[in-house]
């Protein structure tokens, strides 16, 4: 095969049979990471240290073996990798797998100079949505009637959440049905409009892998020069093999993506129905249980304000405003940059549907400005200093 180049659409897999079968769809991503480490293209890879099927933590490693052991997809790891990466303060070179919203956060931080794109290599994983581990644990017990400790693996296929138990049995339920009771994907995932991480170096997923390669290969779209270099390296080092993606596969990938986006648009319409009555009172009610823990700011992948943030500066705990300035400032401040990743909702100790509230402000602003944060290379519209002008 000729050298890998930007724009290539390929199907790839790991040459290591164990990795290939443990991988989410053929182990290509693992192979690319392992080869990059071996060659010294990066010093570290972020792998997942799994406690069980419901619990894993990202952790860096420089061991190829750890990378091999981390093959597979975790649909219940719902944190955003942006904050994780920021801990390293650009002092480490790191390769990592990212969901589209992880990458959107990273891209926004690159614009804010907190993450150096030269120091990271990203493989984007297509993402149809993630699920909160505590909810799925409950569902496994109550809907699947399976002991959660007996779960060996989980998989999403054709709109179904399939649970595999240690006895080899497969138990499946339609995700749509689970979502009726808010037990499927997180709400923001249901209306998310980026399913393929074309904002990363390599965009990988199983959509479009057909025929005998189905389940044993990954569809990869080469998005950047770095992506081409890393994939070529894995092939050269015999960690991975690739073939050109068949046209039919590409067509299917596009179609599935289209269906998913249509579903997301429908959910979007439903979630963001215009508020009837007093909008301000509605907002006040939603926020009345806030305990001002600040977790929503801590986890926000696009916030880069630090401790002197405006939302904190203008918030005084002795104020008795009906709606705290902390939230009002954040809603406005993030309206150009919110990526709708759901992190704020996930960590709120009062279960305030924060992402929904942020999006209420962000939807019209981003539409009006024709700006999609994390997918758009332009400087955030509210910035005074424009990256484009500096260049």
């Amino acid at each position: 095969m000729t050298k890998v180049k930007v724009g290539d659409r390929l199907i790839g897999w790991s040459t290591n049979e164990e990795v290939r079968s443990n991988g989410g769809s053929g182990g290509l991503v693992t192979a690319v990471f392992a080869a990059a480490l071996e060659k010294g293209l990066v010093d570290n890879v972020v792998v997942l240290e799994k406690a069980n099927q419901f619990e894993a933590v990202p952790i860096i490693t420089d061991s190829v073996e750890d990378v091999f052991n981390s093959a597979g997809s975790m649909h219940m790891l719902i944190s955003n990798q942006t904050k994780y990466l920021q801990q390293f303060k650009n002092e480490a070179s790191i390769a990592l797998a990212v969901k589209p919203c992880d990458m959107r956060g990273i891209r926004e931080q690159q614009k804010r100079n907190t993450i150096d794109s030269d120091k990271i290599f990203t493989v984007g994983l297509n993402c149809g949505g993630t699920m909160a581990p505590f909810k799925i644990r409950e569902v496994v017990e109550s809907v699947y009637e399976v002991d959660p400790d007996q779960v060996k693996g989980e998989e999403i296929e054709k709109g179904k959440l399939i649970i595999e138990t240690f006895d080899g049995e497969h138990h499946s339920h339609s995700i749509d049905d689970l979502e009726v009771d808010d037990h499927g994907r997180r709400e923001n995932c249901r209306y998310c409009t980026v399913k393929i991480a074309t904002n990363s170096d390599l965009a990988c997923g199983n959509w479009g892998v057909i025929g005998e390669l189905s389940g044993r290969g990954t569809y990869v779209e080469v998005m950047t020069e770095k992506g081409a270099e890393f994939l070529q390296n894995a092939i050269d080092m015999k960690f991975a093999e690739v073939v050109e993606a068949p046209e039919k596969g590409t067509e299917i990938r596009g179609k599935v993506n289209g269906v998913m986006l249509k579903m997301a648009a429908n959910t979007h319409k439903e979630v963001f129905k215009p508020i009837e009555g007093d909008k301000l009172e509605d907002l006040r009610k939603e926020l009345e249980n806030c305990i001002h823990c600040g977790a929503c700011k801590e986890v926000c992948p696009v916030c880069a304000c630090g401790v002197d943030a405006k939302c904190n500066k203008y918030y005084d705990p002795t104020d008795d405003y009906d709606i705290s300035l902390y939230h009002l400032i954040r809603f406005l401040h993030l309206s150009d940059s919110c990526i709708g990743c759901g992190q704020c909702t996930d960590v709120c100790p009062a279960d305030i549907p924060l992402t929904r509230l942020y999006r209420r402000f962000a939807n019209p602003v981003q539409e009006e400005l024709d700006y999609m944060p994390g997918m758009d290379d332009r400087t955030p519209p509210f910035f005074l200093t424009k990256l484009e002008e500096l260049e």
């Binding site: 994780y84 002092e91 581990p133 002795t318």
Partner: protein
């Protein structure tokens, strides 16, 4: 890509030490080669307790640990000379006095494993481990059955009626979301207190000393979940009345008593058969010289007490041994200080307020058990039989009647009745009740920041808008508050809050109030004319 710093990383799956709620959290320890470690938290979303959410104390855990931990790397290679020297001194002091002259205190700020080893030390020395919250029971044998957790947090969500005696927003913030869920499902939430809480459907004015027999709205039945708490400052009469009126055996009402320290429930359970002293008795014993050695395991009595004079009393004890994972005020005055690894590095279990046994682990190949090993070394030095970590774990499992730790299942524990000394059921007030020169009652809202003596931006008082008008506080200015005897005065910012007139609430320890409820005088700070 350019070559950069080498990093390694440990992740500790641990529990927030802020309060007895038992929130699961990951503590991330990032170690850049040749530099100090950097701590960060990750939200532990699979935790059955908090599902990844934390309160404002939990969110700041990295800062808490960074500011209070001892050099934690020093524990990774086992106990060093400095540790062994402190252990020897502690053992010598314990051996030099009679059993009755020793007081061992562990309120539940460490693991079950360390607490159990401490009990073993107590057995060797023939003295009990005191947990310090026992003073609240009027009749411990009767009440303990109900106060050790008999309803889970998820049961709160399905309750039809919830009677609240704690302000969840301040004292146990993670209760808030459980209550939000319950309300969404149609629960009627009634708050018995002096504030108006947004979460409550009904706020029933109930004074701290008021008898519940006189509160008509307190009518628990089989559909009621009652949430209160037990702290070193709880009014024991209130607890007795809750249990008496609710009479769970008859009405089937459910009771949840929140606890202030991460392992208060575990420590309380493991120490349940011992004849314990109250904290007041211990302080009295030090004052009259009957207690000569006080050994505190991760329990800072200075932080715990609202009255700062306790520090001077502690200085009087012949030997104060402090074993601590955090740098706290009591460490400063200790005669023997045994430093241990920070809480997040501990391996073992804790039991939260709903009686869930939660494991703590790490990605380390060799777990650090410095605290546990240090207690064992002391046991050996005083001539006892130290038990291995594994045997201690087994013993704990058997105490809880389970075969393995499973944080997703709350074990049924039959709690036997036991005795402690009876104490006064009156709520302490710092000044005589009929003090003429006071115009308000000051009440503490206990919370993790207060228990752990942490810097807190909530350094203000809360007061009703009507009271603000009455005493003519000026907007944007401060209030001056002094205690009834006028010896202590402090200027504080105030927040108008929907609450009862004539009361003042504070989430922070204030020098003018040395008891949970205190009579004070409040007035506007005089406006000083600018030159």
């Amino acid at each position: 890509m350019t070559k950069t710093i080498k990093f390694s990383e440990n992740v500790y799956t641990t529990v927030c030490p802020g309060c007895g709620f038992g929130c699961g959290v990951y503590l991330r320890e990032l170690m850049p080669e040749g530099e100090n470690h950097i701590l960060n938290i990750d939200y532990r979303k699979p935790s059955p307790v908090n599902e990844g959410k934390l309160c404002r104390f939990g969110v700041k855990l990295p800062e808490y640990f960074e500011q209070t931990e001892y050099n934690s790397d020093s524990f990774e290679t086992g106990l060093n000379e400095k540790h062994m020297e402190a252990i020897k001194k502690a053992a010598d002091a314990l051996k030099g006095v009679k059993s009755s002259e020793i007081a061992l205190v562990s309120a539940g700020n460490t693991t079950n494993e360390e607490h159990m080893a401490f009990i073993n030390l107590g057995k060797t020395l023939n003295t009990p481990v005191n947990t310090c919250v026992n003073h609240v029971y009027k009749d411990i044998g009767k009440l303990h059955v109900y106060t050790s957790g008999n309803v889970s947090y998820s049961e709160i969500e399905n309750a039809k009626k919830i009677y609240l005696f704690v302000n969840p927003y301040v004292s146990y913030p993670l209760l808030t979301r459980r209550l939000v869920h319950a309300k969404r499902k149609g629960a009627e939430i009634v708050y018995f207190g002096l504030k108006k809480l947004p979460i409550a459907c009904k706020n029933v004015k109930t004074k701290p000393c008021e008898s519940l027999y006189e509160v008509d709205e307190f009518k628990p039945d089989s559909e009621t979940v009652i949430i209160s708490d037990i702290t070193p400052y709880t009014n024991s009469k209130r607890i007795s009345e809750i249990v008496e009126i609710a009479n769970p055996e008859k009405t089937e009402a459910k009771l949840l008593f929140m606890k202030p320290f991460v392992n208060s429930t575990g420590a309380g359970h493991l120490s349940r058969h011992s004849k314990q002293k109250t904290i007041q008795n211990i302080i009295k014993g030090i004052e009259d010289g009957t207690i000569r050695v006080l050994f505190c395991l991760d329990t800072d009595i200075i932080n715990m007490c609202l009255n700062p004079e306790v520090e001077n009393v502690l200085k009087k004890v012949e030997t104060l041994i402090v074993m601590s994972s955090t740098i706290t005020p009591i460490c400063e005055i200790a005669d023997v200080l045994i430093e241990t690894e920070p809480f997040y590095k501990k391996e073992g279990t804790v039991v939260n307020s709903e009686r869930r046994i939660i494991p703590m682990s790490s990605t380390l190949d060799n777990p650090i058990r410095a605290g546990f090993n240090q207690i064992n070394e002391i046991i050996k030095a005083v001539g006892g039989n130290a038990k291995s970590f594994e045997d201690t774990k087994e013993e704990i499992l058997s105490e809880f009647g389970i075969e393995k730790v499973d944080e997703f299942k709350i074990p049924e524990v039959s709690i036997k009745k036991y005795d402690v000394e009876k104490v006064s059921d009156k709520l302490e007030v710092c000044c005589p009740a009929d003090e003429p020169d006071t115009n308000a009652k000051f009440i503490y809202e206990l919370n993790p920041f207060m228990w752990h003596n942490r810097k807190d931006e909530n350094d203000y008082i809360e007061i009703s808008p009507e009271f603000i008008s009455e005493i003519k506080l000026i907007k944007g200015h401060t209030a001056d508050i002094n205690c009834a005897c006028k010896s202590i005065n402090k200027t504080l910012r105030y927040k108008p809050t929907d609450m009862e007139n004539g009361y003042i609430f504070s989430q922070k320890k204030q020098p003018f109030a040395k008891a949970p409820v205190a009579k004070v005088n409040i007035k506007p700070t005089p406006l000083v004319k600018k030159q």
